[in-house]
């Protein structure tokens, strides 16, 4: 059986990617399951999708904890514990990362027992046009499995994108095809595990028996206000706005318009962006009447250092 887990962020087409891969495997004669898992259901938030394929009826259900292929469409997910990208990767599993960094680089950083391979999705996009990262990864993943023909793959793309305009489908097919080609040398790298070779692939949870507790303890009332400040949504950001105090006229428009409430004024009336929460929508930069807010790539600036003891 193939057990494939896809990781990405909302908006990268991960759900569609799993559907394309599932359909391509189905067209190649496999029994297939595919299922997305949304989590926060938000653009930018981590998303998961699971594909199983086997040549007989699949009786497994649920999340894939021990994959033989893990696809990571967004390399920044490695920094998010909640994304749990590396879960269950053993010596036989293959990890495919969409990244401009080399596989050796990732091997050194991650110190994993299994094989790591890299798709330079940005390079494919430069050549083939703008296509969601999820679609690119599907092209590479299908080739790594070694059991999906290009024809089946492209048919699956057309089928799953039905309803989109013809030009978009064609661009996607070109990009998927290009990613598929790039992995010709690694076709069949993913080992197919005998289904049933392992009796149980999911680890049963370690149940803890709890006695019934008094209601206020079992279902406590949170009376503290504004607790969402504990959630650092700044992690979503890929680009950051930066205020140039020399150009700023202290009009305060950015503060008024910030949807997050992430901009406050300092003692002198200058706006200060709280990068712990700024999601990087950049509407402040777009609206600043003095063009005093520049935009920088998040990777080129040092990560914010939250102070000790802060919420």
């Amino acid at each position: 059986m193939y057990r494939i887990r896809l990781h990405g962020r909302g908006g990268q087409g991960i759900k569609t990617a799993s559907r394309i891969l599932g359909t391509a495997l189905f067209r190649s004669g496999f029994e297939v399951q595919d299922a997305p898992r949304y989590g926060a259901e938000r653009r930018g938030a981590p998303i998961f999708a699971y594909v199983r394929a086997d040549d007989k009826v699949i009786c497994e259900r649920g999340l894939i904890h021990q994959p033989n292929l893990v696809v990571v469409a967004d390399e920044t997910l490695f920094d998010l514990p909640a994304a749990n990208v590396l879960e269950g990767l053993d010596g036989r599993a293959v990890l495919l990362i969409n990244s401009e960094r080399s596989a050796q680089d990732w091997c050194r950083q991650l110190q994993l027992p299994g094989q790591v391979t890299v798709l330079d999705g940005a390079a494919v996009v430069r050549e083939a046009g703008r296509v969601p990262a999820g679609a690119l990864c599907v092209g590479a993943a299908a080739r790594l499995l070694g059991v999906v023909s290009r024809r089946a793959l492209l048919q699956a793309v057309a089928e799953e994108l039905a309803g989109h305009d013809a030009a978009a489908i064609q661009t996607s097919q070109q990009a998927v095809s290009q990613a598929y080609e790039l992995f010709a040398g690694e076709a069949g790298l993913v080992q197919r595990l005998q289904s049933g070779a392992k009796k149980s692939v999911t680890t049963p949870p370690k149940w803890v028996e709890l006695d019934c507790e008094a209601l206020p303890r079992a279902a406590p009332t949170i009376t503290m206000a504004a607790t969402s400040a504990l959630v650092k949504t700044g992690l979503w950001r890929t680009r950051r706005p930066r205020i140039d105090r020399a150009l700023c006229s202290r009009c305060g428009l950015c503060r008024t318009l910030c949807p997050e409430g992430g901009i406050d004024l300092d003692g002198e009336g200058y706006p200060v962006i709280d990068y712990r929460y700024c999601k990087g929508c950049l509407l402040c930069a777009a609206q600043c009447p003095r063009r005093a807010i520049a935009v920088a790539d998040e990777r080129t600036v040092s990560p914010p250092q939250p102070k000790e003891g802060e919420p």
Partner: protein
């Protein structure tokens, strides 16, 4: 804020899971700055439900969750409870809270309209904030009865929504409530003035706020304000208020920007421009805006 962490009770705290560039959250931020924590927010199912996910909440004041159809009924219960507490002297009038309903357009225009109409009949003292992102945004943007004609949604894929946006302002006004206003966060002064005006009145009050939605409408989050400004400048989102039995426009775009400039920025209307402009449908949509302003006499 960066020094001490958010502490003011007249702000919504950051850290919510709403999309970057959300036009609805932007409006709620501006509203909360005026109303503050002396409120009970009664929230029907929708995007904003995700504001308060246990144990996190951005609200400094109270919040109550209801099913999609029942926010106005929930507000009745909250108001009654507060009135009983007041009557029995258990709380002073200084401790009284304002009842605020918060729903999206799916509830306000559709599923919750019956309960809302009944609350209006009863003259319930509450303020209703509808963030109208013109579709069921929380579940993948299916069309609602607030979806504009021709907009592409998850359930109107081929040539866009065949219906027309329902006139909720007129439906509310027909009940003769205390106050009805349309607004948008891209016009913060107009919005703040209307919130203050509504807060000073008693009885049923509606603030109907257009909420540009980067995710559902298909535009870059940085353009939320630009899209909102164009909604006003093209005249497709009239800013107006109803008070004392009369509807008045608070901003009349006399030199209206062509509607196509608003539509062109949004992926949900891309089929009107590609592969070639659908001149006939664009003209029809523009004509609908012209017809609206034709009957505005002030």
């Amino acid at each position: 804020m960066s020094e001490s962490g958010p502490s003011s009770h007249s702000h919504l705290a950051p850290g919510t899971p709403l999309c970057a560039g959300c036009g609805g959250l932007q409006a709620l931020q501006q509203l909360y700055r005026v109303l503050g924590d002396k409120t009970v927010v009664v929230n029907a199912a929708g995007c904003m439900t995700l504001l308060s996910i246990y144990p996190f909440t951005p609200f400094a004041g109270s919040w109550l969750y209801t099913a999609m159809a029942c926010a106005a009924a929930g507000a009745q219960g909250v108001r009654d409870a507060l009135d009983i507490q007041l009557a029995k002297g258990r709380i002073s009038s200084a401790e009284d809270l304002a009842t605020v309903v918060l729903t999206g357009d799916g509830s306000a225009y559709g599923m919750g309209l019956s309960a809302t109409s009944a609350a209006l009949d009863r003259g319930l003292d509450f303020l209703y904030l509808c963030y109208d992102n013109e579709g069921y945004g929380n579940t993948g943007h299916q069309y609602s009865s607030a979806t504009p004609r021709a907009a592409h949604t998850a359930t109107s894929r081929v040539s866009g929504y065949a219906g027309s946006k329902k006139d909720l302002f007129a439906i509310w006004a027909a009940h003769r409530p205390s106050y009805v206003a349309t607004a948008i966060a891209a016009e913060p002064q107009d919005l703040a003035r209307k919130v203050k005006k509504a807060a000073a009145l008693r009885g049923p009050r509606l603030l109907l706020v257009l909420a540009p939605c980067p995710t559902g409408w298909g535009f870059d989050p940085a353009l939320t304000v630009k899209v909102g400004q164009l909604a006003v400048e093209t005249g497709i989102w009239p800013l107006k208020e109803y008070v004392d039995g009369r509807a008045v426009h608070t901003k009349i775009p006399r030199q209206r920007t062509p509607l196509a400039e608003y539509l062109r920025l949004q992926g949900r209307f891309a089929h009107l421009f590609s592969p070639q402009p659908d001149e006939q449908r664009l003209a029809e949509l523009q004509q609908a805006v012209e017809d609206y302003w034709q009957q505005v006499t002030e």
